[in-house]
Amino acid sequence: MKRLAGWMLATPATLAIALLLVIPVAGTIGMTFGTPGQGDWGIVQPYADFFASNFRRRVLWRTFEVAGYVTVISLAAGLVTAYVVARCPAWTKSVLVVLAVFPLLTGVIVRSFAWLVLLGREGMVNQFLIWTGLIDGPLTMLYTPGAVIVAMVYIFVPLMVLVLVGVLENIPEDLLQASSSLGAGPVASFFQVTLPLAVPGLIVGAVLVFTASFTSYATPALLGGTRQMMMGTFLHQSAMVRFDWPGAAVVAAIMLAVILATVLVMTRLAKRLNPMAT
């Protein structure tokens, strides 16, 4: 009886997920398969076509590269920030966390636009550099992978800080006291106690930032342009500009596969490396 009630309660949500998620995704993936017996690769011919194209391989690789840089830089910047924030007194800490999270309250597009203003030919960064005399003419910063990386780091660091502050706060104070009573200075304590205990949190943060930057669309669309296309912008172009729906479905399926693989591998790793679990 209890079980039945449980199933019934779960039904609306299950139906919603089935209708709105499972069926469309299955449809999209279904669209990516070719006709059996046609071409060298049979039903996976569309995937073979994707990987046969130099241009598309470069888009995929660039996406990996950008997402990788963004993840690594966000991890480093987020860890340092979170370490400082987590060691502040309670009141200062809440103020700093609110400040760190503040940018999350504006949309991704607005925040990407800000970088458009900063990095353009007549933008503030170029004007400043010319004023200081470091350069003679404006640098091309927009529509480069660098611009996309800088903007994405700016967008995702708050997320990372939020995750890592939580993790660092959970490291018991007396472990750090034990470490210093045994002769470990602040640096040694950080690398031998804090960092190993923060690994699961670092992995969670890395997965969040990597998947979000791998699939991002707005930032590369605004700051990467059409020459520095990433998977997100390429997907949009395939579907909405070229109306190549099967091609777009293949892009979507590859993105999905990359993200699933990342999440699976990383959560496994996090579990293995979690010192708190037995």
């Binding site: 470490s179 009573s181 045994l182 205990l197």
Partner: protein, 353 residues
Amino acid sequence: MTLPLTIENITAHYGSTKVLEDLSLSLAEGELVSLLGASGCGKTTTLRLVAGFLQPTSGAIRLGSKDLTRLPAHQRDIGLVFQNYALFPHLTVRENVAFGLKQRKVASAERTKRADAMLDRVGLAHLADRLPAALSGGQKQRVALARALVIEPPLLMFDEPLSNLDAKLRVDMRVEIRQLQRANGTTALYVTHDQEEAFSISDRVAIMHQGRIMQLDTPETLYQRPANAFVANFVGFENIVPLSVTARNGAEVTARSDSGAELTLSQDQLGAIPDRFLLATRPDGLQVSTDPAAVGLPAELGLRTYLGRAYQYQAQAGGLSLVANGPLSQPLETGTAAKLVPNPEQCAILQPE
């Protein structure tokens, strides 16, 4: 190696709250001194100051000739055993024990050798490769002890090390701690709220209250000759009777209570008796007697409880609520008039507040 510890006129604040006031304490080489008191008495604060986790507002802390007062915690070279063990969860038992040696740049092979030897001493050699999560409370505390001892610190400190263990294990572990501390001859500061624990293993005990040391003495002296009403009460002198001397005859002193009852006490047994004083007794040291000739405090008996070796009575004597024991042979009813006779061997003379 072992060094004496000197704490000189330490005052400490948490924010604007004063938690320690002008506290001084010296530990001789190899001595084990306990700080004993209820929570909030300043005992843990004192330990944290010596460890370097807190800074005193004024005063000095010295270990041997080294001034620790402004030295960062990691340079103080003190072995610390925590209440919650504070073992590193990501390191094996062996790595935990070797942690301090690693910070001292001891070579890897030597580290393992010394860590294993120390684990052997605490009887955990077979668990060296486990993670702390796989250990019982008693085992964790042994690892914590081994980790603190292996660096051969000149001073060991214990912060309520046994309070998370069950009663039987507590008794075993405190004996073990004392044996290891004796064998190494290390000076030790031991913080606890458990009187039996403090008295059983300490050379001297400091009873603390509201940021001050009320009395620092051997357990025997504290137990038999408390210096003031607070300590007397703390060690079980439940009855405190104010008295005034009315006559002196050599060592014999006659004293009168506020309600007019007269007692005769011997300075040979109790030490010097001032003109006004407090007589402190444990329930055991105040015997109920119905003999009309007995010399004692007249009282009306209240509730009787059975202790196994005696009956205990709540008694009213001239406006004082006292607790006294009576013989098993003669259970007395509520309302009985009796005398409460102090046994000089179980009394203490205190200065009035």
